[in-house]
Amino acid sequence: MTIWWLVLILGYLIASAAGFIWVVLHLKGAGGGKPGKHTATEQFQKAAEEDVEHIFNDEFREELRNRGRLHFEKIIGENAMFLQQDLRLTTSQMNEFMKQEITRSLEDAFKNYQSAIGDAKQMAIDSIEKTKTTIDEQRKMLTLQLETEFSQQKAARLKRFDEKMAEIVNHYILGAIGNQIDLSDQLEYILSQLETSKKAILEDIKNGA
């Protein structure tokens, strides 16, 4: 819209200048005519020309030129003022436009940036959630494995304890009472045991001999 205004003002100025030049040239051409027949018409024309020359003399022309110049200067001044106003308006509009454009660009950039940050944040949250889920699953699996292993170890230890308990008790009892039993007190027991195995011992002695 500002450019069109500028074009219109310039066209107006050019048209004014062309009209002024045409007026000046026309006035200058009217002052240099050829001498004709001395007829009434010619005389009349001559008298009219003289009157014209008399009316439109140099002072009048100079006055017209001054008026034209003043008018032209006035128009030029007004147009310059308009142009200046338009330029200021255009400048302010352009500043406003630039501000709006920059603001819009920045807002778009910020929106994109916020969107990217949001996406990244969401991805991070998803990743953390996934990791948390995986860790929970692994923890459950590990707990299950540990419980299984503990129960297996417990069963194995209990089994081993059952197997070894009697041996341990025997060892303890033997160690505890081993030195407390007198051999002479055992004589009857030993002789009775020998008596029960007498046949086997006898047979082995005979076979060995």
Binding site: A166, L174, L183, L187, Y189, I190, L194, I201, I205
Partner: protein, 159 residues
């Protein structure tokens, strides 16, 4: 006249005692040979060990007599092939205890059986008899081992 078999008294336990008696009898024999060489009459025999005295008295032998010494030497020689058993106790047995055990073996198993006494503190009580081919475990340890299942059941291992 058939010679009677000599008796091995329980105080003579094992092959160690037999070998010791053999060496002592040889020394006695040397002493008597020397006396004979000197042509001196021996009225009092040299001092002998309790084992030899017991063996001689148990068999009514006079060691001053050559024939008796010869019988004794032959008997001791024959004991080299006598049957033997090894018996272990938890503690070192006394002499009287050993004699009773040896007497039982001589009466019930073989009159000339030789007994080797061993020591196994871990059996706690009883004894372990080892013959030529077998082991007879009469120890308290073995008794406990055989009763392990009963102990497990009593403690609650078997519901």
């Amino acid at each position: 006249m058939a010679r009677e078999e000599l008796v091995l008294p329980p105080i003579i336990v094992g092959m160690i005692d037999v070998n010791r008696l053999g060496r002592e009898l040889e020394a006695f024999e040397d002493y008597m040979a020397q006396a004979k060489a000197r042509k001196s009459s021996v009225t009092t025999p040299p001092r002998t060990s309790q084992l030899l005295d017991t063996l001689a008295s148990a068999n009514q032998l006079n060691l001053l007599q050559d024939i008796d010494r010869e019988r004794l030497a032959l008997f001791l020689q024959s004991l080299q092939d006598a049957p033997s058993v090894h018996i272990s106790f938890a503690a070192d047995p006394s002499a009287s205890f050993t004699e009773k055990i040896v007497a039982w073996f001589r009466e019930n198993i073989h009159p000339n059986v030789l007994v080797q006494i061993g020591l196994q503190p871990n059996i706690a009580a009883g004894c372990v008899v080892r013959t030529e081919n077998k082991i007879f475990d009469f120890s308290l340890r073995e008794n406990f081992n055989q009763s392990q299942q009963a102990l497990i059941d009593a403690v609650g291992g078997k519901q």
